[in-house]
């Protein structure tokens, strides 16, 4: 029996909570307003995530992590056609290119990166197919959902804040005309340098994110910190800006869990046990 519904009515956090508590095995298919994804679970633990538009071929994951180059990926595609991620991983491990633990850690980080993106989706349809696990040949993880829910909720709050500060990724950036500190004197992370290198009034923030394989949360965090440090400025375009990205967080469940201390103890109405038994007998006869 498939669980179906809309994210507007039943948010990601609630869905993961249900899957966790019911220890479900199966796949959650989500068609968001912009992207689609599926999340696989075994006995209430997250084992795999796939998202449309995100290449989850193992060599590409390794490339994103800076372990492989584009040439490595091309070479593997050419020489190992039709091989699954598991086959490729076996070759990489037995040949000593990678350690099993390191590889599993990267896959886990990849899965978590995707699931945290899904957390920001608040519109679309979902469907849970029990016992369906399309993970043949894939490398899976086994991730406890409690931590995912906690971290996802924390990121969601951060996401809301960043979305308020930077609602539109369709805008471009330029270097500040009078930065208070010269760029060479500022300590920037590798990721921040990657963004800096694309700062140009012709590049939108979204384009910079796409080119650097960054998700929206990552790029917003970096741009926000660069704006806060007055290193870059938003290009005020004379043309009307594109519509803001959907960033509104799912409506939080307004129904607060009742305080057990405050709950009234259940009590029966003032009737005798015999009357209840008469009711039971009669209804059985109906």
């Amino acid at each position: 029996m498939a669980l179906k519904g809309k994210l507007e009515d039943f948010g990601i956090t609630q869905l993961l909570n249900l899957i966790n508590l019911a220890r479900k095995t199966g796949t959650l298919y989500i068609a968001g307003s912009e992207k689609e994804a599926y999340l696989c679970f075994r006995e209430g633990r997250l084992i795999y995530v796939s998202m449309a538009g995100v290449d989850d071929y193992l060599p590409v994951i390794l490339q994103r992590a800076g372990i492989f180059t584009e040439d490595h990926v091309r070479m593997i595609r050419k020489n190992m056609p039709g091989k699954t991620d598991q086959d490729i991983a076996r070759v990489l491990i037995t040949s000593g290119h990678l350690k099993q633990q390191g590889l599993l850690r990267l896959v886990r980080e990849h899965i978590l990166g995707l699931v945290f993106q899904v957390f920001s989706w608040n519109q679309g349809a979902f469907r849970f197919e029990p016992s369906e696990l399309p993970v043949q040949g894939r490398i899976t993880a086994s991730i406890a959902l409690e931590n995912v829910i906690m971290e996802g909720s924390r990121r969601l709050k951060e996401w809301e804040l960043l979305s308020d500060e930077l609602p539109d990724l369709g805008i471009a950036l330029k270097f500040a005309e009078r930065p208070t500190t010269p760029l060479r004197d500022i300590n920037l992370s590798v990721e921040e340098w990657r963004v800096i290198s694309f700062i140009n009034p012709r590049n939108t923030i979204r384009q910079i994110a796409n080119y650097n394989n960054m998700d929206e949360l990552q790029i917003r965090k970096i741009v926000y910190s660069l704006l806060q440090a007055s290193l870059v400025e938003i290009v005020r375009s004379p043309r009307p800006l594109s519509a803001p990205v959907e960033t509104q967080a799912p409506a939080s469940d307004q129904v607060a869990k009742p305080d057990p201390q405050a709950e009234p103890q259940m009590r029966r109405p003032a009737v005798k046990r015999g009357i209840i038994q008469r009711l039971i007998r009669r209804i059985r006869e109906l």
Binding site: M1, A2, L3, K4, G5, K6, E8, D9, F10, Q14, N17, L18, L21, A22, D253, Q254, V255, K257, P258, E263, P264, Q265, M266, R267, R268, P269, A270, V271, R273, I275, I276, Q277, R278, L279, I280, R282, I283, R284, L286
Partner: protein
């Protein structure tokens, strides 16, 4: 002559009227009206005041079933209807997750009126899209001691089971010695 009443409540279009019609020995005194709001037009008619059904237990005992109006704008009537109830049933359309939050709100509201025993009836379990009763327990945050009964409101045996489970819950409370009243 002693009369007792049970309340059948739940979100709009969860199957309250159908359940009462299915078990009542009299034609249900229903106050259905044509739906005027477009957003609520998933059925042609809805209960605007209450449904009223009856089961005669014996010559000096009658059980009345009251169905609450499902539309939110009539919720001012709930407290009046709930006075002196034996227990209540929260009907949930298992195929419509968009109503689960409302079901939870109704459940909490009725609990606050009177701490009598209650159960949740997971209706429309005959449909392919129905969420399982145990999943509804989780999403509605129903306490472990409260029953979530799978049901089909158009099926008399299933409706009997719902009413019986509520009565069993009352008996169990009596047996556990937890009762205050």
């Amino acid at each position: 002559m002693q009369t007792l009443k049970m309340i059948i409540t739940g979100p709009f279009s969860s199957g309250k009227t159908e359940l009462i019609q299915c078990i009542s020995e009299i034609d249900v005194v229903s106050t259905e009206r044509k739906i005027t709001r477009e957003s609520e037009r998933i059925k042609d008619q809805t209960t605007v005041a209450m449904d009223f059904g009856r089961i005669t237990i014996d010559e000096d005992l009658i059980l009345y079933l009251f169905g609450t109006p499902g539309q939110k704008r009539f919720d001012f009537m709930w407290e009046v209807l709930s006075e002196g109830m034996l227990g209540f049933v929260v009907m949930v359309d298992s195929t419509r997750p968009e109503t689960f939050r409302e079901a939870r709100r109704i459940l909490e509201t009725f609990r606050s009126y009177s701490p009598v025993p209650y159960i949740v009836a997971a209706n429309k379990q005959d449909l392919a899209d129905a969420w399982p009763a145990e999943d509804l327990r989780i999403v509605l945050r129903v306490e472990s001691g409260v029953k979530v009964v799978p049901c089909v409101a158009s099926d008399r045996e299933s409706v009997k089971e719902v009413l019986l489970e509520l009565l069993y819950s009352i008996l169990e409370l009596m047996d556990e010695g937890k009762v205050l009243g």
